[in-house]
Symmetry: C2
Subunit: 263 residues, 2 copies
């Protein structure tokens, strides 16, 4: 395809997600951000939850124009992962680097360690790697018919700040929105990622030919009850905003190994 000619006089906003371009969450995200600039959507054609930072190396990718978002000229489904969407948007679809990338609104929380499993957050991370200010939004409700009214308020508030006051470092936020009404919402908390994990309990079943197979199930366990965490904020009806970095180096362990190990 020809790259689309973007409007140089408006902020260029790339919208992506992992629940697919047909999800209610991305429809609400587009509706919330379209007043802030020129919106271009590149999102997966099929659901991609739990795809993490996967990229498609062994298959070619397809792009298809999708007419779905009111007042938005350019929206495309991509046959790949959420991270593929960001890469192909940047290189094939857009004629310049977006001023902002927003990902979501995810159907379900991406707080704490879930940032690693989430396609929605990985798309936002990929944009940050590209030097694009970037925000992943998630609503703490998995239901397809969830109410995105509070989310719209939250998205607009944060996008407005993000466009006016840039973040100094890699410019990436993990925003989770409690499933409450606007009246119940207590406000916003800037948080750290809670120390939590999934405890797996694979469900063992037997197929009609007598062979075992396993379904991944599990429960999310939060070991971290402190008040500066995203889990605390969400449990207390605050929006949690975790600034995220893409340098995973553990600097404390550099000194430790240099001192204690003999290599």
């Amino acid at each position: 395809m020809q790259k689309i000619k973007t409007d140089p006089n408006k902020p260029l906003i790339l919208v992506v997600n992992d629940d697919s371009i047909y999800a209610k969450g991305i429809q609400n995200l587009v509706a919330a951000v379209k007043e802030f600039g020129q919106v271009v959507v590149v999102a997966p054609g099929l659901p991609q939850s739990g795809m993490g930072h996967a990229v498609t190396l062994d298959n070619a990718l397809r792009l298809r124009k999708v007419e779905r978002f009111e007042g938005i000229e350019h929206s495309y489904s991509c046959s790949g992962t959420p991270v593929d969407c960001v890469k192909i948007a940047r290189d094939v679809v857009l004629d310049r680097k977006p001023d902002l990338c927003v990902s979501g609104i995810n159907h379900g929380s991406n707080s704490s360690i879930n940032i690693l499993y989430s396609g929605t957050m990985s798309a936002a991370v990929e944009a940050a790697i590209e030097g694009i200010p970037s925000i992943g939004f998630s609503l703490c409700n998995h239901d397809y018919q969830a109410d995105f009214n509070t989310s719209k308020f939250v998205v607009q508030k944060i996008v407005d700040e993000m466009l006016r006051k840039k973040l100094p470092n890699n410019c990436l936020l993990n925003v989770n929105i409690p499933d409450v009404t606007l009246e119940q919402l207590k406000g916003f908390k800037i948080c750290r990622q809670a120390i939590a994990k999934w405890e797996e309990e694979f469900e063992n079943r037997i197929d009609p030919r007598g062979r075992p197979y396993y379904w991944l199930t599990g429960r999310f366990v939060n070991y971290d009850t402190k008040e500066d965490t995203d889990e605390w904020a969400l449990a207390n009806n605050y929006v949690s905003i975790v600034p995220v970095q893409i340098d995973l180096t553990d600097y404390n362990n550099i000194s430790f190994i240099n001192k204690e190990w003999t290599l």
Copy 2:
């Protein structure tokens, strides 16, 4: 399956990778670590490069016993991703938490930002989330027939230290091995992750029915020439060891947003 009864008197070492259980890299990794304890292998049945931290939510998983590693009683292929392998090993295969997880040896570098895309490193990250001391090994050579002689020395040296001197924090290392002989190897460097990224150049092709499709290609660009990085170490024939953390919070930006933003 019945959980395997592990030997309580030996360190339990879980071996995983992303190039599949049939790759030469994992065969060399098993050979290198088997003298350190009881080795159990759970690795993907098919190549899973670039799968990042993906988990399988929409399909059931299969486990199959594989006879492939000399002197190793328990090795299984799994139909899922590298992260699935760690989860199913922990919950279905093993009767206790491993003392160490080693992932690889990856055919190709996982230095710098590649930790996010790499299935090999994501498996190691998943083990660290589970509280298992964990190391991902990668050789800077993509060739199937690469020479793993230097790698064997490197793996044994690091595993020996790791088992004797625990790391204080989340216990995860990203180890990359330059493609050189033992004589050319200069030693080991404890490093930070270099600031680098992939510049995508999708290749546009036309299928026999006249429709476009796109192949992800690109080149790795290192913006960070400082001597404390993994890229510098590898370019100068050192093994790079980057200690990795799983808390992605950018603490500097917490203070910035609290001071500068109005929410």
